[in-house]
Symmetry: C2
Subunit: 214 residues, 2 copies
DNA sequence: ACGTGCGTGTTACTTACGGTAACACCGAGT
DNA sequence: ACTCGGTGTTACCGTAAGTAACACGCACGT
């Protein structure tokens, strides 16, 4: 019958797709975002056209791959954000979760942050702003939602929450990237410094002697 | 004579180099980071090998090009940061300067943020963290220096300043990128919201009724 | 049993780009 | 007149994305 037939095929295709994604994952884990379609196909034991049949183009494969990791990381972050503890404690736990993730698998992290690389055709048309990694955008939106749901920010709070969501995620991202490259301090210290920043220590700090403050 | 000869040649080469950079600038302004070496050479009225003689490889050209814009933007930011005004006013002026710049020339902005794209060979070796746009790193370092110089942060202040420098720049960057894509509010509102975030409104906000705060 | 689709796989190709080698012109110094 | 260094070219290589065309196998209706 048509329905069962379609279901069987669907299941088979889905399993195949997952296998291909896992192969792609291994290659990306080894080669970073430079992983070529040929290499991924070889790792999966097949050839290029099959990849293209499943994912359309490189962007499609990368999007599917990114979605897996992004979903996983976002789940961890949500858990940290939802834990029963004081606000500052939860903020620190969330920061630490993110930093631990990028520390544990830097190649995956690189891939997630710069998935758009290497495309010489087709990418021409998309407007500014879209070039941002989907991970950052999604994290920003989710955090914005949490902020809006839980904090009383008065009138205009919704918009404020969105700005803050993206801003805080960007802060975390940039600081994490820099930290990962230079390792100037421990993870815990970084978390604490960033939380201090969010907690208004910038505004509260006194001027240094000899000039006007920053 | 040898010296004058060398000087003449040097001047000629420098002028040529500047012409080439201006041509490259026009192409990047039109095509964004996807600008190809062929296109740039054509715009300059010459062919590829000349570009390679002047800049080594694509990375060299992009670095030279990025340096121009980065220097220009950093000068504007320094001016805003050094203006004689209250701390918050200067922070807002700096944020606004940055946002006005990326708003005015989005293609250049895109190019500056993702200069490493398109390289399929050679980029393999560089470690995590290096893939960050030089502009962000330089802004982060400069801001860190300003913070360290002007704010009294007590013991460990130097490290704190560096974390904050990169963190604040990342916040500005991410929020700006998101804002540029969605335009959810005016520039002034965005500036105000970000400054509020830096001024500790996150910590000061009350919980919403019905649940624990964020 | 036999063709007929259809999904799965392949080889071989095109196109585009970064980068380079080899050759051509041209003006200055001996 | 002859070389020499700088400027320019054409023509090529290697690699990677993406595609067209062909080949195998397996369930299906007749």
């Amino acid at each position: 019958m048509d329905t069962t037939q379609r279901t069987d095929q669907q299941k088979s295709a889905d399993r195949r797709r997952r296998e291909l994604l896992e192969a792609a994952d291994r290659v990306v884990l080894r080669d970073g975002p430079q992983a070529s379609m040929n290499a991924i196909a070889a790792e999966a034991g097949i050839t290029k056209p099959i990849l293209y049949r499943h994912f359309g183009d490189k962007g499609g494969l990368y999007a599917a791959l990114a979605k897996r990791h992004t979903d996983a990381l976002l789940n961890s972050l949500r858990a940290a954000l939802d834990a029963p503890a004081e606000r500052r404690e939860r903020v620190e736990a969330t920061l630490d979760t993110y930093l631990a993730a990028i520390e544990a698998r830097p190649q995956v992290y690189r891939f997630l942050m710069h998935p758009a690389e290497g495309g010489q055709v087709g990418d021409q048309g998309f407007d500014v702003g879209k070039h941002f990694a989907p991970l950052l955008r999604r994290m920003g939106e989710e955090l914005a939602q949490v902020i809006e749901d839980r904090l009383d920010l008065g009138p205009g709070g919704q918009q404020l929450a969105r700005v803050w969501g993206h801003g805080i995620v960007g802060m975390m991202h940039a600081a994490g990237d820099w930290w990962l490259g230079e390792r100037p301090c421990s993870r815990a210290e970084l978390v604490r410094s960033l939380a201090d920043l969010l907690w208004g220590r910038l505004a509260a700090a006194g001027d240094k002697v000899g000039g006007p403050g920053f």
